[in-house]
Symmetry: C2
Subunit: 330 residues, 2 copies
Amino acid sequence: MTMQEAMMNEHPPVRTDADELVQGIEKGDVRALARSISLLENESPRALAILSALYRYVGRAYRIGITGPPGAGKSTLLNKLVMEIRKEHHAVGILAVDPSSPFTGGALLGDRIRMNDSVQDGHVYMRSMATRGSLGGLARTTAQAADLLDAFGKDYVVVETVGVGQIELDVASAVDTTIVVLVPESGGSIQAMKAGIMEIADILVINKADRPGAGELEDEILQILEMKPRDERPTPVLLVSAREGKGIEALWAAIKHHREMLAAEGIRELRRKSQIRSAITNHVLERTRSFIERNEEMGRMVESLSLEVLENRCDPFRAASLILKKLGIS
Amino acid sequence: MTMQEAMMNEHPPVRTDADELVQGIEKGDVRALARSISLLENESPRALAILSALYRYVGRAYRIGITGPPGAGKSTLLNKLVMEIRKEHHAVGILAVDPSSPFTGGALLGDRIRMNDSVQDGHVYMRSMATRGSLGGLARTTAQAADLLDAFGKDYVVVETVGVGQIELDVASAVDTTIVVLVPESGGSIQAMKAGIMEIADILVINKADRPGAGELEDEILQILEMKPRDERPTPVLLVSAREGKGIEALWAAIKHHREMLAAEGIRELRRKSQIRSAITNHVLERTRSFIERNEEMGRMVESLSLEVLENRCDPFRAASLILKKLGIS
């Protein structure tokens, strides 16, 4: 994304029609893609219209997640991995998810820090994702942005998340292969378990593997992984030095191997179906929420019930039952 | 919580009736409280019945959140703060939120690490919280557990969260005073902004303030805080050495001062009303979700629509519209 594009994302100069953006994306116009993702971030209803129109192209791109604690060298690893993918001439979309402040626009900061020339060519699109609208929508928006990149024609979509929170778990459930990156400094097994990301790893990378402690970390990880049930497939643990480019080919090979396994066992289709089921249900709930918030009669009802709860004349559960009854759901 | 209690939480020896637990909590029985929170964690319908019956006692306890990056000394600070609160003979409930693995039971690990004898007396109840059921429910379960502690008669409920994720933002919106703890080692301003927690801080604590770099961190924080709009109240920044007990009295004074301001400006009641509104809406959506998932006819509809989407004959948004139409919501 150029600076100019970034500014246009922030302040769209014209109110572009959803149909125009759909046609733009169909023609491969990167600016239409960028604006559509901005609309998603802003939770604009137009974004869903665009996604709906393009959904028939969704399902082809292979999705890779990269997560791990801050300082694990994820961005460097991402750059090198994308260069490796580019050797095979695949088109790549990158989403760098920034779960930081919804108030100060963490994504712009993220853009500045994470942008790296090495991955910027005509076939690579990189974008930082942050919450601008409601809290809690980031994982959903990211999954939808991945759908857009998929529809745009990217062969691979790589989603990078920072941190150890809920968002990583949610993103992991929306990608095909999840790579967890740890470094010798990220400490012992307790740290890794607390990160809560050992179980979501399809591939474990020990980055900065030339540093002291890499062997010990590997031993600890292997010990933890032994606790996995026997019938589950073993998680590969790879020693990588992303900065020196060591181990990147092996990582790419491991991703492709994982992809083949998922395909052979029919798991990818099962996962995709369950992702679609979640997407449908979540969308139903989202629209139910906005119905409750925007419908005048419902608004009055919620308001008066809230007051009753505040005055201890009702409780939220009874209030919810009354609303569900009104909605006709029981 | 004793080891015995912990075991009973894990494997309740008898299937206690919700009414019995309600009566137990009304009588001040800590075991009834512990079991009810376990039911909440397990997302048992009985837990909501208990909370519903006790809701008329909710709204009295003052809620304090403590958050910050791992290694910031939050547990030590929490212990010292609770000792300070105990000097005034208030009853305290503590919830240590562990957003780690929903698979390996991070809470038990958390218990072992965080438990500290100094805060264990008859008037202090401490409990670790982790997700056992669905992902994403941790913030809601924590808010409900705080309600239970409130109904139980605790004067203060302190919620400790680890990390820099969404959960901190969600928890912050459910407490009255949010304390963000940073340490000189947590690095410069970018790190702090990325943590995304500067904006949610009602009080900022620089812990381990005897270490080198504390002054620089204070300067950076004050610079960032200057970007706050002028009409917002200034965020106090306190230098603390929790281990040595330095600055704890000032922190307690700052909390009480913040509480007085919230009361004087009527903000606490406004916040509480908005929390109640969210609780009602979320409960409506949760029950709508379970209706969609459990109702046979709805289940068949979602299943067949998912298949249509998978085969690119429909998209999730159109599918959602059809379901909303069936539900009678539009």
